[in-house]
């Protein structure tokens, strides 16, 4: 199989990372922070080490809170439901994934909040001035994707953070696509938080993600239960990160994430440069095909190795099936859980075909993908 769906989840994973994580888990596997025996204390210390590594990785001080979740969607739900109060307003964008859109729509349908979505430019970028214009006195949060999962465009986080700071509204970034692909310097940019997942460009296992929150961003818990601290109290502890981590955390996932973080950090810049060179080759091969239209790919600077296209009068799901069944090429077709992107692109009815490259994508695979698309596009 030629796997070009790394924006959904990276595949394959570096096997040695998972093996090491499993070996450590088999030795360490007590419940972190539950119990005073040595093994439980060691497990908690191992988790604390990963929290520290994540702080460094995302460019924040250790006073930022790292709370583990199942994935980015889970983290975004914790954030939006734990931060927003009745009457609050939120600014987000039409580039968002349903992981942001659905919690926002849910809260709005309950009459608890209002929100506005700023559009993106034809080349796939959010204009900081439009974010500023959308901010109202009641705006409690600006929540934006750092990189579009459909178009691959990396948003000007620092410029957007600057306008948010001017207006006194915190900015939180959904870094699901960008984390592990390009550097993230949250504090330097002036954003107050981020939500991440471990299984995409961070190359970790599924089932682990988190929130990184600045010290001024306080969330109310929306899940309640055992935390290993303050056990006498019948109420959820106020102490971070436990306030947001009800129940036993995913130790195997956290160890897997740590191993993959180390792996990614070793080859970060070189991997990105290589992936983008292949993305450029793919773009150049696709853009000359008849009846094929690429979106937001004229320039690939400020871009992840993600390319999305349509073929005139052809359904994207059928193209995806043909690539899979006839050529063994796995791509993502449809709406990519980002309906407003497709609405704005005019591709809501037919969907689009997304090619997303990863660290193990080869030049031969890109040649094969271009050749397959040429055959598919050639059928009238």
């Amino acid at each position: 199989m030629i796997y070009l769906d790394n924006a959904a989840t990276s595949f394959p994973k570096p096997a040695e990372c998972l093996r090491r994580a499993l070996e450590r888990y088999l030795l360490l596997g007590a419940s972190p922070g539950r119990g005073g025996y040595d093994r439980a204390v060691e497990a908690e210390a191992a988790v604390a080490t990963v929290r520290s590594k994540l702080c460094r990785f995302f460019g924040v001080d250790e006073n930022y809170r790292v709370c583990f979740t199942y994935n980015a969607t889970d983290a975004l739900n914790l954030l939006l439901q734990g931060l927003l109060q009745p009457g609050d307003h939120v600014v987000s964008s039409r580039l968002e994934h349903n992981s942001v859109l659905r919690p926002l729509h849910h809260l709005q349908s309950q009459g608890r909040i209002r929100f506005d979505l700023v559009p993106f430019s034809p080349d796939g970028f959010i204009d900081p001035a439009q974010v500023s214009a959308a901010i109202q006195p009641a705006t409690r949060l600006v929540i934006l994707t750092h990189a579009s999962n459909v178009l691959g465009t990396v948003q000007p986080a620092q410029d957007i953070a600057a306008v948010c700071r001017e207006r006194g509204v915190p900015l939180v970034l959904d870094v699901s696509q960008s984390a592990g692909s390009i550097p993230i310097r949250l504090k330097d940019w002036g954003a107050q938080g981020l939500a991440f997942t471990g299984h995409k460009a961070l190359l970790g296992p599924t089932g682990i993600g988190g929130l990184v929150l600045g010290p001024d961003l306080d969330l109310e818990p929306t899940r309640f239960g055992g935390t290993g601290v303050d056990s006498r109290s019948p109420y959820q502890t106020r102490e971070y990160p436990y306030r947001l981590e009800a129940g036993t955390i995913n130790l195997l996932g956290i160890l897997g994430l740590e191993e993959s973080l180390d792996y990614v950090e070793r080859s970060y810049a070189a991997t990105y440069a290589r992936e983008m060179a292949l993305a450029e080759k793919l773009r150049d091969g696709l853009q000359v095909l008849p009846r094929l239209r690429l979106y937001a790919a004229d320039r690939l600077d400020n871009h992840l190795p993600v390319l999305t296209c349509t073929l005139e009068k052809r359904r994207s799901e059928d193209i995806g099936a043909i690539l899979d069944g006839d050529y063994g090429i796995a791509v993502r077709a449809g709406l990519h859980c980002a309906p407003f992107v497709h609405q704005q692109l005019g591709t809501l009815a037919q969907g689009a075909v997304r090619f997303s490259l990863g660290p193990f994508t080869t030049e031969t695979e890109i040649d094969a993908a271009v050749a397959a698309m040429a055959t598919v596009a050639g059928r009238i």
């Binding site: 052809r314 359904r315 799901e317 059928d318 995806g320 099936a321 043909i322 899979d324 069944g325 006839d326 993502r332 077709a333 449809g334 709406l335 990519h336 859980c337 969907g351 055959t375 598919v376 059928r379």
Partner: protein, 103 residues
């Protein structure tokens, strides 16, 4: 619900059968005509029969690879047989449920 080929049949918003069992040859022929198939050929009937038999036996649609191997045709060729393509054409006309996923 809509009346088609002398029966009342429930379809979803994309025109997929709500109930696999409510399919019939007559309804298939009416839907095929609506979908732009000018003349139903043996090839069309083979595709529909394969899809229905597979679904009835396995409780799911065939994988892309299984469809290609089972039919002895590429999916590109199969797409070309049905004016509305694989999903809205072949699968829908065979009475398989709407997959409703981004494939």
């Amino acid at each position: 619900m809509r009346a088609i080929a002398g029966r009342e049949v429930a379809f979803d918003e994309e025109g997929f059968f709500e109930d696999f069992e409510s399919w019939s040859e007559e309804i298939f022929e009416a839907l095929a005509q609506e979908s732009g198939i000018e003349a139903i050929t043996d090839q069309h009937r083979r595709v529909v029969r394969f899809l229905r038999d597979f679904y009835a036996y396995n409780g799911r649609a065939p994988l892309n690879n299984q469809l290609r191997q089972g039919m002895g045709l590429s999916l590109l060729e199969l797409e070309g047989l049905f004016p509305q393509g694989l999903k809205l054409g072949a699968r829908r006309l065979a009475g398989l449920p709407n997959p409703k996923t981004c494939s």
